[in-house]
């Protein structure tokens, strides 16, 4: 069964979640992966959205973090101050699942502005949302992001959410209670932080992708782990489940992913960076 780079990314991200984990879910790619995990190997995954829906069990993919289906299927619906103060800040959440516009080698995330001048940005992005405190307080953080030189930069233009800050020891100095990014999952492979330097290193690679490809789409001198492994291709049941989920929100998907990429361009042909975007 052929599959796209995006499908490989989403399935790999879903694999990172274990059953019965509590997972604070960002919208977009993280929400797709978390719902895929719940539909496949992790039926008791506890999905928590910043809209205050705890234990949401949507049968279809929500377009926003506040779709009615999340409230209707949740174990509990709490106010926004409560979700951030009582549930997130207090350290009750296992994993924060985030997207990013820009990411650097220490896993710091920018979703605020592109360009050097905050007052006169080249591109104005949506901003922080819940991400800074998710990145600070969840026991671990998983980032899902499509990889390119534009998104994978040496230093982010603006630190919206802290990964490992300036390197080892930063999180402790800042008093951030969670452990920080445990892995970054892209459309090419998986990066994990080096235990000594905190720098993101390539530790997993997808079938048909070369290390040179990945280095060419990284804006810093990417180190490769000695334990680099090839990750398994998505199984047929996983692809079927994912496509079923995506089919439940055709309007938004049509907007985000060009039909050519969505229509199963085989990964060996590398649907290319353009198609993935």
């Amino acid at each position: 069964m052929s599959y796209t780079a995006d499908e490989m990314m989403t399935v790999t991200a879903a694999h990172a979640l274990r059953d019965q984990m509590t997972c604070f879910v960002g919208i977009g790619l993280p929400s797709e992966a978390a719902n895929l995990a719940r539909a496949t190997h992790a039926p008791n995954l506890i999905l928590i959205y910043e809209s205050g829906t705890i234990g949401a069990k949507p049968g279809v993919l929500p377009l926003s973090i506040g779709d009615g289906i999340l409230a209707e299927t949740a174990d509990s619906v709490v106010s926004v101050p409560e979700i951030f103060n009582y549930w997130l800040q207090s350290g009750r959440i296992d994993v924060g699942f985030l997207g990013a516009a820009q990411l650097d080698k220490f896993g710091n995330i920018n979703t605020t502005v592109i360009g050097d001048d905050y007052a006169d940005p080249r591109v104005r992005l949506p901003g922080a949302g819940g991400a800074p405190e998710i990145a600070a307080a969840c026991r671990e953080v998983i980032v899902v992001i499509r990889q390119s030189r534009r998104t994978f930069v040496d230093r982010v233009d603006f630190v919206t959410s802290v990964g490992f800050g300036d390197g080892p020891g930063s999180r402790q100095r800042l008093g951030l209670t969670g452990a920080g990014p445990s892995r970054v999952i892209t459309d090419l492979g998986v990066l994990t932080p080096d235990p000594q330097t905190s720098e993101l290193t390539l530790s997993g690679i997808y079938p048909g992708v070369s290390v040179a490809d990945i280095k060419g789409r990284t804006g810093w001198d990417l180190r490769v782990s000695a334990d680099l492994s090839e990750l398994p291709a998505p199984s047929e049941p996983e692809l079927t489940a994912l496509r079923g989920l995506l089919a439940t929100m055709p309007a938004s998907k049509a907007d985000r992913v060009p039909p050519a990429a969505a229509a199963s361009a085989p990964v060996t042909a590398r649907a290319t960076e353009g198609a993935a975007r």
Partner: protein, 267 residues
């Protein structure tokens, strides 16, 4: 105006545009389509917010045009995280000058944003973040029901509206319907009539957002907004047709609900 994806007071926002209000400081955690419209219509001088996007779709093009190109007027911004904004409302609702959280530390937000400061816990010496209270002049929210006395009830995703109403000097609540008696509902928030300034009946007043039990989120409109708002001329034509030239009346199909007049003034 608050409403976390759910219960967003679109119709009330359109009335603000029709009245051609100017130089407003708009406050909202998640400015989405209605704030994009207010900003594009030139109503706002400043925006205090934590996430400005079209959820699940992409950019707010009118917001971006205002920040990047000062169109139609320059827009000053003060941005926070969601947790920061929620705590700023809580401080306002509590009558306190600031609230405390673990947040902002190590981010670039802390240095760009007014009203964020480090404090030391007097008991543990932990370094924490203080955020100044929000005290808006007016809160505008949408709810499912009010009773004839002006008590307001809403349920589903309840967001930060309670804190917003209690932090503000005055409040306007648009509701789907007036009922004789509010039936208790699991997870509902009830705002007593004496805590609310004005109630107006506006069925469908949240569209394209939704009111759980009354309407569904019009996701197709959120997706369609991307194309409408991308271009200044297309946006202006939309605004003319669907807001300025829309007289007071019942809710229309394209997010055109308008204020139908006060039915009850609660105090």
């Amino acid at each position: 105006m608050e409403g976390f994806t759910h219960l967003i007071p679109h119709a009330a926002g359109h009335e603000v545009i029709r009245q051609r209000r100017r130089d407003l400081t708009l406050v909202r955690m998640t400015p989405d389509i209605i704030y994009d419209q207010l900003i594009g219509a030139g109503c706002a001088r400043k925006l205090v917010f934590s996430w400005a996007g079209n959820p699940g779709v992409g950019s707010l093009h009118r917001f971006r045009d205002a920040v990047e190109h000062a169109w139609p007027v320059p827009l000053e911004i003060e941005e926070h995280s969601h947790a920061g904004m929620a705590n700023k409302y809580m401080a306002g609702a509590s009558g306190l000058p600031f609230a405390i959280l673990r947040g902002y530390r190590g981010t670039s937000l802390a240095s760009q944003t007014a009203g964020v400061a480090e404090v030391v816990c007097p008991f543990t010496s932990e370094r924490l973040t203080a955020v100044s209270a929000l005290r808006p002049d007016v809160a505008v929210v949408h709810a499912q029901q009010a009773d004839r006395l002006g008590n307001v009830q809403y349920w589903g995703i309840t967001g930060v509206q309670k804190e917003c109403v209690l932090a503000s000097a005055r409040s306007v609540v648009t509701v789907e319907e007036i009922v004789d008696v509010l039936d208790p509902r699991p997870g509902a928030v009830v705002l007593p009539s004496w805590a609310v300034s004005y109630v107006a009946v506006v069925p469908g007043g949240a569209h394209p957002s939704y009111a759980l039990g009354y309407s569904a989120r019009d996701n197709d409109f959120y997706v369609a907004w991307d194309a409408i708002s991308r271009d200044r001329a297309t946006f202006t034509a939309w605004l003319d047709e669907h807001v300025y030239h829309r007289p007071a009346g019942p809710a229309g199909p394209a997010g055109d609900a308008v204020l139908a007049g006060d039915t009850g003034t609660a105090r």
